[in-house]
């Protein structure tokens, strides 16, 4: 039974991991290529979830809702880049943090004004309801399996874009040395805008797929933003491969820790102490992981920057 439970928890960790990857992919590209700290990335996650929920209600189809909402979120991202962020690239990180923190407040207030303060209803589409037995005796929600599938597909697509296409080549060139890429005639400005739109679309997609299992409410993107930063620091800033490995790692460590640490502590201390210490340590686990990575490999697991 314990083996089966471990397998189920591994799936949970994987699902959380691919979700984090979708968030972190955009963040790491923006941070790596543009050297821009964008705290408002979580807001795009929230905006994506709201737009998808609205489109789903209008069209009556979850898939259609997402297909419409992904480009819409990308457009929101591009608008934010053109209007606000473009003026911030030459400023230092503190200015960027202040301005994008302002964007968080702006977007939280905006969705509250447009959609109201109450949480929206967002449900799993009928064809993904129910459970699938991943192996006999272990039923697993079909929707979560679908998230894992979509997440892995997006990761593969992003890998192909970055490693096989001309735009990907420019992205890699930009991440490794921005000035040199610009000096060689690459239209860095346009590249920045496109990359930001791409990142926004991924963050939005993460929000859209999480909506039906959590709460679509103002500020829903703020907690996950911190985790996305942890992921890109562990993975190495600017590296998509690093973001993928780190996201899965963080997803697994967090889930396995939450599931098994309290029981683990019960082996050594009284139950009431384990109940208090277990969850506390479990919620610290990924930060301990980050500290360890920073200690042994300050550049992260897969550093992208060369100069």
């Amino acid at each position: 039974m314990d083996g089966l439970l471990l397998l189920e928890q591994t799936f949970n960790g994987l699902q959380f991991g691919v979700m984090l990857f979708l968030m972190a992919a955009g963040l790491t590209l923006v941070f790596g290529i543009m050297d821009m700290v964008n705290l408002a990335h979580g807001s795009l996650y929230m905006v994506g979830a709201y737009i998808a929920t609205t489109f789903t209600q209008w069209t009556g189809s979850f898939v259609l809702g997402i297909l419409l909402a992904v480009p819409a979120t990308a457009l929101v991202g591009i608008a934010v880049e053109v209007v606000v962020l473009r003026t911030l690239y030459d400023r230092d990180h503190l200015d960027q943090v202040l301005a994008t923190f302002g964007l968080i407040l702006f977007f939280n207030e905006l969705v509250r004004t447009v959609w109201g303060p109450a949480a929206l209803f967002s449900d799993i589409p009928a064809f993904l309801q129910g459970q699938v037995e991943i192996i006999p005796g272990v039923p697993y929600p079909a929707y979560r399996l679908a998230i894992i599938g979509v997440g892995l597909a997006v990761a593969l697509a992003l890998y192909l874009i970055v490693s096989r296409t001309r735009m990907g080549m420019l992205i890699r060139a930009g991440a490794s040395n921005r000035e040199m890429a610009g000096a060689l005639g690459v239209n860095i400005k346009l590249l920045f805008t496109l990359v930001f739109g791409l990142g926004a679309a991924f963050a939005g997609l993460a929000g859209m797929m999480t909506g039906p299992i959590t709460t679509v409410e103002p500020g829903m993107g703020d907690p996950i933003l911190i985790l996305a930063f942890v992921v890109i620091i562990i993975g190495g800033i600017g590296s998509v491969r690093g973001a993928f490995v780190a996201a899965i790692l963080v997803g697994l460590v967090d889930t396995i820790g939450r599931a098994f640490l309290p029981q683990f502590f019960r082996l050594f201390v009284a139950d009431s102490t384990a109940d208090a210490v277990g969850p506390a340590v479990a919620s610290m686990l990924i930060y301990i992981l980050m500290a360890a990575v920073l200690f042994f490999r300050p550049q992260g697991l897969f550093p992208a920057r060369t100069g």
């Binding site: 039974m1 089966l4 439970l5 189920e8 928890q9 949970n12 960790g13 699902q15 959380f16 509250r112 303060p117 109450a118 949480a119 929206l120 209803f121 967002s122 449900d123 799993i124 309801q129 129910g130 459970q131 039923p139 929600p141 929707y143 979560r144 999480t210 039906p212 299992i213 959590t214 709460t215 679509v216 409410e217 103002p218 500020g219 829903m220 907690p223 996950i224 889930t255 396995i256 939450r258 599931a259 309290p262 109940d275 208090a276 277990g278 969850p279 506390a280 919620s283």
Partner: protein
């Protein structure tokens, strides 16, 4: 010279303010209006405003001014708000207060000043017991009571092997302790989750593996929406009954819908309570605000009716002893039918079992399925030295 005169005149004006204010009712109303919890504050503000409307905008027939404050769910902000309300606005009553930690932060400062503190929601144990105050009243409940009622229900029904879950903070621990005060059966597992947690997949897998006969959760607000949806999505809802406290109510039901259908929870109030005050409250609330009221809204409404009855009886707001005596009497029209006050100024009232049902118009609400505790007082009143 001129300057001096102006100074003197303004000083006189300041001195004159309290006596002028004495026949005007001033109420400070503090709730969380911003952030994810802002929806709870909205319910309470809407309920409070409907209460004002029902008393003709005049509490106790006197001219009334309400100062609304947004505490942002931060104890320090709440404290600044009450300081301002007491010193500058010179309110006679501070009310609202959703969160227990905020209540603890303002309880001392308000009750030590010449101001009444009326809780419309929070009821932490210290202020019900040793630190009870003659300047404090609760028109809600003491925190332990709702889970105690659930523990009693589980025990009486002979339900065994219950799995318990709550967020890892003081109220979460108090809630599980409250259940276990009356529930004496086997505990299949006890889990404390992160406050504000969004994904419960790991906890649900562990829960399923533990094979309990029933599950009790205390997961208020967004956490409850997440958990109840994921519990249904994991296919657990049909196999293991879910018992709750503060997890499925009018704030969360519009986002939970079918996932919460049939979920049981204890509470002091439900929209279907068949007394005339409640019928009028629910009908007018839906007409005015366009949604089904929650217990938060009902308690905020009751707060207005409570103040109205006491001030009307005394006829002014300067005789504080008379006001206190009038408030202690407890005979005010309220949505719960009957509220009496204990020696610690917390209500003695019924606790009901409520079930989530779907209405003909497609909306979701709760229906009363029975009384768990009739006229129930809290277990801290005996530690309160106050008697009257």
């Amino acid at each position: 010279m001129k300057k001096k005169l102006v100074g003197l005149v303004s000083a006189l004006a300041l001195l004159a303010t309290p006596s002028l204010a004495a026949d005007k009712v001033k109420v400070g109303f503090i709730v969380t209006l911003s952030g994810p919890a802002g929806i709870i504050g909205k319910h309470m503000k809407d309920g409070f405003e409907l209460g004002l409307e029902h008393v003709g905008g005049k509490i106790g027939g006197l001219e009334t001014e309400v100062i609304f404050g947004d505490d942002q769910r931060k104890p320090d902000v709440a404290k600044q708000l009450v300081d301002k309300m007491i010193k500058r606005d010179r309110v006679q009553f501070v009310t609202g207060v959703i969160w227990s930690n905020l209540m603890m932060a303002i309880h001392g400062p308000v009750t030590r000043s010449d101001t009444f503190l009326i809780s419309s929601n929070a009821g932490p144990s210290p202020i019900a017991g040793k630190r009870c105050s003659e300047n404090f009243f609760s028109v809600s409940w003491q925190n332990d009571q709702t889970p105690e009622a659930m523990g009693k229900y589980l025990q009486d029904k002979g339900i065994d092997n219950v799995y318990l879950m709550a967020p890892n903070y003081q109220a979460g621990k108090d809630m599980l302790a409250g259940v276990r005060r009356y529930y004496k059966g086997k505990v299949a597992g006890q889990v404390f989750t992160k406050l504000g947690q969004q994904d419960y997949s790991a906890e649900l897998s562990t829960l399923r593996a533990a094979g309990p006969d029933a599950v009790f959760v205390f997961l208020p607000g967004g956490m409850g929406i997440n958990f109840v949806k994921q519990y249904a999505q994991a296919g657990l809802k049909d196999s293991i009954p879910l018992y709750t406290a503060f997890t499925a109510d009018a704030v969360t039901l519009p986002a939970q819908k079918d996932a919460a259908l049939g979920v049981l929870g204890t509470q002091t109030w439900s929209p279907d309570l068949a007394n005339p005050v409640n019928k009028r409250f629910v009908a007018d609330f839906r007409a005015k605000h366009g949604y089904i009221p929650s217990f938060y809204a009902a308690q905020a409404y009751d707060t207005v009716r409570f103040l109205d009855a006491a001030v009307a009886k005394v006829g002014n707001v300067s005789d504080r002893d008379a006001l206190r005596a009038a408030m202690r009497a407890g005979d005010f029209p309220n949505t719960r039918g009957s509220i009496k006050f204990n020696n610690n100024h917390f209500p003695i009232q019924n606790f009901y079992m409520r079930e989530v049902v779907k209405q003909d118009d497609g909306s979701f609400t709760t229906k009363i399925r029975g009384i768990v505790f009739p006229a129930y007082g809290d277990s801290y009143a005996k530690d309160c030295k106050m008697s009257w």
